[in-house]
């Protein structure tokens, strides 16, 4: 998948919120690409834009999302619906709200199979759907899948709900999985199970994963490449090891050094002024300059370009031009 110049704006009475403002990203085959940033930087809206599931009030105003030669933005809604779940699937942060409380888990996992496989492609028979569902539940490690298919979401723990979400996705064998903070609501031991499940998915089915998270530790563990987002724009993109060992953008440097790690002295975590940029009234020039420890006059006047500093390492900062 190639994303080019993606712009998703929200038009409000008080003004326009530029939630995603010109994002370019490539997601390779079998690759896990991470997108990180603080609350409200637009990372979640970028993910939703890929599936064209933008919350009310938002529109993709410009850009291309190229997937297997097609531009997803130009597709009709029906064609887009066929892609969702089969080719491109999504898991959300909160498993409690992404499952319907009045249907059983089995029904909800079976529904996409019926919609996509049986009705459209006649790949499997309707009678085989329950068997498929049980298989999927087994794959994601749910105990007693035969009994669990009859459970309602409230009868399951958070981890089991998130596993059911993963089960729902793998029935469609998607080529790309968009995971929006998939483990933020979970405990660490359950988180490690879900992350492991996602890695297996890549291994066994060759699924590419677009992982959106605020947790740099999860990124370090999961991703091949990482993009850092700030105020609607990408500010750095590179392979995972250089991002942690030689972060170039001042914002990335602070992000990495603000995480408590073994060896950092108590009270000595890196910080910058905690001003969250207002996406309605963005600063001129570099959007990071009001918080940047290295800001120079040029940063206030001219917006830096997002370009290669080294091969495969893109940065948006005047320090490197």
């Amino acid at each position: 998948m190639k994303i080019r110049g993606l712009k998703t704006y929200f038009f409000m009475e008080r003004g326009t919120v530029k939630a995603v403002d010109g994002v370019d990203l490539d997601i390779g085959k079998k690759q896990i690409l991470g997108l990180v940033g603080e609350t409200g930087c637009g990372k979640s809206i970028t993910a939703h834009s890929v599936l064209r599931l933008i919350p009310y009030g938002g529109t993709i105003v410009d850009g291309k999302i190229l997937y297997e030669g097609k531009d997803l933005i130009k597709l009709k809604e029906e064609e887009m619906r066929k892609l969702r779940g089969t080719d491109i699937a999504m898991i959300f942060q909160d498993p409690h709200t992404s499952l319907d409380p009045v249907f059983t888990i089995g029904y909800q996992i079976g529904e996409p199979i019926e919609l996509h496989q049986v009705i459209e492609q006649h790949l499997i028979k309707a009678a085989d759907v329950p068997k498929k569902v049980i298989e999927a539940l087994e794959t994601v490690g749910i105990a007693d899948p035969e009994d669990r298919v009859a459970s309602y979401p409230h009868q399951l723990s958070g981890g089991m709900k998130q596993r059911s979400m993963v089960a729902m996705m793998i029935t469609g064998t998607p080529k790309l999985l968009v995971a929006d903070e998939p483990t933020t609501a979970l405990d660490v031991t359950i988180q490690s199970q879900i992350l492991d499940l996602m890695r297996q998915l890549r291994q066994k089915l060759g699924t590419s994963i677009f992982l959106i998270t605020h947790d740099l530790a999860v990124v370090a563990e999961m991703c091949d490449r990482v993009a850092v987002m700030y105020a609607g724009q990408l500010i750095e993109e590179t392979d995972v090891i250089p991002l942690y060992e030689q972060p170039l953008h001042p914002y990335t440097q602070v992000l990495i050094n603000a995480i408590p790690k073994p060896g950092t002295k108590r009270g000595k975590l890196a910080t910058i002024p905690p001003l969250i940029p207002d996406l309605m009234h963005l600063p001129t020039g570099c959007r990071f300059h009001p918080r940047c420890p290295y800001a120079k006059p040029i940063c206030e006047q001219k917006e830096p370009e997002f370009k290669d500093v080294e091969k495969g390492h893109r940065v948006r900062c005047h320090l490197y031009s």
């Binding site: 603080e38 609350t39 490690g141 105990a143 723990s157 981890g159 089991m160 405990d187 660490v188 031991t189 359950i190 988180q191 490690s192 199970q193 992350l195 492991d196 605020h214 947790d215 740099l216 530790a217 999860v218 990124v219 370090a220 563990e221 995972v240 090891i241 991002l243 942690y244 602070v254 992000l255 990495i256 603000a258 995480i259 408590p260 790690k261 073994p262 950092t264 108590r266 009270g267 000595k268 975590l269 890196a270 910080t271 910058i272 905690p274 969250i276």
Partner: protein
């Protein structure tokens, strides 16, 4: 102040602390009582001036321990000594006097600040309740002083809580406690709702205050990286019980309890070169309603034997103040085989 065998000053000592909550006594359960074993047989002591970390997964009872130590909850049984006095059975006016000595910062500062009260009113309340200031002038001086300490601009005094960011709200919550100049502060997941940079600000502030005023903290968190960063000693909880307690370095370098070992293996670390240890821990956390008999971890433990299902392991010192509750760990030198063999 009470001293222990080693001659350290102990501020808080809890022995055999239990807190059960009753559930389900409806028509269908035919009057049968069931209990949530929120906190069970907890033994710990907190030294004066230390940062004591308490970690565990959600629902393991760590917040209830914090509330018990502050006497915001009444223990079902067991004793709590605060500076040598048994506070587990205090009531009324005596308990009210105790309140001045301790404070608590909650995970969601929005819910601990009254949304209809200006910040200045929220900060006046503790001063008025405990009659700490002679007059209005002294009260305002105290408030301005404390704002300087936590790094909040005075113009925010005439705002409402919703006009402040999460980090600012957490600073106000801290300021309100500092006004009382307490001896002991419970910090219940103070940074879990915050972004990493704001979290760094709050952690730095808490460390500075600790250094400056010599407070004793109980730092409750599910984030093992944060707890390791800030604590001197750490206790690990699992389904209502403390299963391991040691100095920070000892706990991370010489991890003895199988649960702590798998917990540490599961925590992601911001180091892309770290080799993954794979999923050691299978299954779900058991419920605290009728928890498993014997060792509560036996349902998920890779080393469990039949004794673990029947007999509760003792929580004992295996040397150097390293406490573990496991049948197989007899000394600090204990070596576990790899669970994959």
């Amino acid at each position: 102040m009470v001293r222990n065998k080693e001659g350290e000053q102990v501020l808080i000592k809890a022995e055999n602390l239990k807190r059960y909550f009753m559930v389900a006594r409806g028509i269908f359960s035919r009057g049968e009582k069931r209990w949530v074993h929120a906190v069970d047989r907890v033994n710990l002591h907190i030294r004066k001036g230390e940062i004591f970390g308490l970690v565990g997964e959600s629902g393991c009872g760590k917040t209830t321990v914090g509330k018990l130590l502050l006497r915001l909850e009444r223990p079902t049984s067991g004793s709590i000594h605060f500076g040598g006095i048994d506070i587990s059975k205090l009531d009324g006016e005596e308990l009210r006097k105790l309140r001045k000595e301790m404070g608590m910062v909650y995970q969601h500062p929005q819910s601990s600040l009254n949304p209809r009260m200006l910040i200045v009113e929220a900060l006046s309340r503790p001063i008025e309740a405990h009659k700490l200031a002679k007059d209005e002038g002294e009260k305002m001086r105290m408030i301005h002083n404390v704002l300087g300490v936590v790094g909040i601009e005075p113009y925010l005094l005439h705002r409402y809580p919703h006009e402040l960011s999460g980090g600012q709200q957490q600073r106000i919550a801290m300021a309100r406690i500092l006004l009382l100049n307490p001896k002991f502060i419970v910090l219940d997941e103070p940074t879990s709702a915050l972004d990493v940079i704001v979290q760094a600000h709050v952690l730095n502030l808490l460390s500075d205050l600790h250094k400056k005023f010599g407070f004793t903290y109980l730092f409750i968190s599910h984030d093992l990286n944060v707890v390791e960063h800030i604590s001197d000693r750490i206790a690990v909880m699992y389904v209502g019980e403390i299963i391991e307690l040691a100095d920070k370095k000892e706990l991370y370098k010489n991890t003895l309890h199988p649960y702590t070992r798998s917990l540490l293996a599961a925590v992601p670390i911001a180091d892309p070169r770290r080799k993954l240890k794979g999923v050691v821990l299978k299954g779900e956390i058991p419920s605290t309603i009728d928890p498993p008999p014997g060792c509560r971890f036996h349902t998920r433990c890779p080393y469990a034997k039949s004794i673990c299902k029947k007999k509760k392991p003792k929580f004992k010192d295996v040397g150097g103040g390293h406490y573990v509750a496991c049948h197989f760990v007899k000394s600090r030198k204990h070596k576990w085989p790899s669970p994959y063999d």
